[in-house]
Structures are given as C-alpha cells and as structure tokens.
C-alpha cells in the first residue's frame, strides 16, 4: 500500500534491489497510477544516474547502472503480434533488467519467469501494489 508517489518510488527501490541480470518485470496499472514512478525507483536502486522518463514514443530506453536497465513502454503496441515483432526477446538475453510498462499489451508473449506488478488506485487515491513474486 502506497499513500504517496515517494512511497511508490521506495517500493520500486525495494523491487530493484532484489533484481538479478536477465530479470523481467512487467507493470500494469491505469494511466497515472505511478508505473513510471515505480520504474524510477527501480532505476535508482540500480544506480542509474540519467533521468528516467516514459518511453511511450520510443518504446525502449536503455540506461547504464549497476545492471543495464531496459525500460519498455507498450502503450502504443496494438497486438501481441506487434509485440513479438518488436523483438524484446533479444533484450532478455542481455545481462540487464527489462522493465515493461503496459505489459498487458504483450498478451501471453512474456517469458515465464516474468515478475508481474499490478498497481491499482484505491478509493482514497492511495495505490495498491500487488506482485507475483516476493520482491517488495
């Protein structure tokens, strides 16, 4: 449960600290839920110094850190075939961490080991984070 953006950021840092090379994190949640804030937290824990912005138009942004961070935003992806043709598979093989926003656009094409994080907006505007792995 996160009441403020800074708590979402801290949750991202906790997730980031547990990540190993080759990990894939898939984040879903409505617009404005704090997906990019969570990614910024993950980036901070990976010692990424460049500012992290939403790669909605570029689809993929790469950052250097303790581990390379590949930040993917699938908001503009229309189908799982389009996702397949994006060729993200090539990134999973690199010794970095791939974080995917709007991962529901990928259909069933994500690797089995993917760590899924869902952000929901609670009634009082708080954010409820749930995670498929014990990483928060």
């Amino acid at each position: 449960m996160c009441a403020t953006p800074s708590q979402t950021f801290q949750a991202g840092e906790r997730i980031g600290r547990s990540l190993a090379p080759g990990d894939v994190v898939a984040i879903t949640g409505p617009l404005g839920a704090g997906k990019t804030v969570l990614v910024k937290g993950i980036a901070a824990s990976l010692s990424v110094t460049d500012p992290v912005t939403s790669p909605t138009f570029t689809l993929i942004a790469e950052y250097d850190g303790r581990l390379p961070l590949f930040h993917v935003d699938l908001y503009r992806i229309g189908s799982s075939l389009e996702f397949d043709l994006l060729g993200l598979d090539d990134y999973y093989d690199e010794d970095g961490v791939t974080v995917i926003e709007w991962s529901d656009r990928a259909g069933s094409s994500l690797p089995e080991r993917t760590i899924s994080v869902t952000i929901e907006i609670g009634q009082e505007g708080n954010r409820v984070l749930s995670c498929s792995h014990d990483v928060i």
Binding site: L81, L86, G87, D90, E94, S108
Partner: protein, 234 residues
Amino acid sequence: MIALSIDTATEVASIALYLSKTGSRREETVTWSRDGRLRHVEQLMPTVSWLCASAEVAPADIELVVCSGGPGSFTGLRIGVATAKGVVAASNAHLIAVSTLDALAEPYAPFHGLVVPVIDARKRRYYSAVYRRGEKLTRDLDIAPGDLEEQLRQLQGRKSEPVYLAGPHAAAALAALENSDLSLHFLSGSRSGAAAAQLRLGLDAYARGEFTAEDAGPTYVRGSDAEMAVRRSK
C-alpha cells in the same frame, strides 16, 4: 568488384569483404566474426570501416552490399538491413538480401543427405528449412522440433538419409530431438558466422541481376499467435 556482406541475424555476427580485380583471376575474401551477444552489432560500422581500411578499400568503392534477409533475431535483422542500406546510400552499391537459412546451409551443399539449418525462434520453436545437395525442399519454416522431425521423416521417404543440423543453434535443436530415431549429425562449424556463404549467394544473385528493392525489409517468418494456436490444436 568489391562486395560487402553483413550477417546480423543471430548472436553470431559476421562480416565478409570480397575483392576481385578486373582482368585478374585473383580473388580475396576477408572475414570477421564474433560469437557472443547480439549487442556486438553495436560495433558493426566501426568493424566494417576497419575491414575496409585493412583491405585498402574505400567504402565508396563498394559495388554490392549483401545482408541477412531473415529469418532470425528481429532486432539483428533490422540493424543489418538498416546498416546495409546506409552503406548502399553512401556508395551507390546494389543491395541483395539473402535468406539466412540459405546462407547457413550453403557450405554443406556437397553433403549427401539432408542439410537442416536451425535458428532459435523462441517459444520452443525453430526457424528452419530443409536442403538436399543444395536444393531447397521446403520454404522457410517457423516450426516446433516435433513437427520438424515429422517433416524430415516425410522428405526421407523409405530411405534413411543422414540429417545434418547446421546454424548457430544446431546443438540446442539436436538436444530437442534427442529421442528421435533419425540419423542426426551436428555440424561443428555452425557458429563461425554466415557472412562468407551469404556473400557467395549474393554474388550468384548479382550475376543473375536479382537485386533487392531499396524499400524491402527483412522476412520475419513468424505467424501470428492466433495461427500458432491453431497449429498447436491440430
């Protein structure tokens, strides 16, 4: 004639530079390969420049650029085609895209038996095609190991031919087919890069005047998930 071949379809990247002087029977091919991660294609253009310099070739003198036409890594294919088109734009060279599978099979055309190049297509599938004495018996396939085995059995008919697995992921495909009673063999040169073979096929196409359109993209050979689901349910 100066030709450049760029192979970026898999994590085994390779480049070949071909030189022959008019009126001379001497030909020369310089090749470079790197077996590692796909990320190495970031060094593609510096390596092309270095190869040209070492062979004393001015990039503007390149008359033919051959690139991987697919299938293979989507990212790798796009980088290769984009790089090839960049060189073409700068040099007025012709562009020829060669099927990645044709290039992987080319060195083994003299073999008696079936030559089967394989490239990992993820999702426990392979890009593959089947060749006998240089003749392509199938189209480019996106196929599960079990279905490939069935296809090979049909192509063999009643006689049992040796089957040679080629390409960078031949070892993995061999492991996936370990329970098969086919006479499977692994070609140990499978991870040395396809640029030189791709170059030879490109020169053949050049001699026939078969050029690739400048606006052509790679062939991905990947059906939609819906198509794959239908195939699975059969």
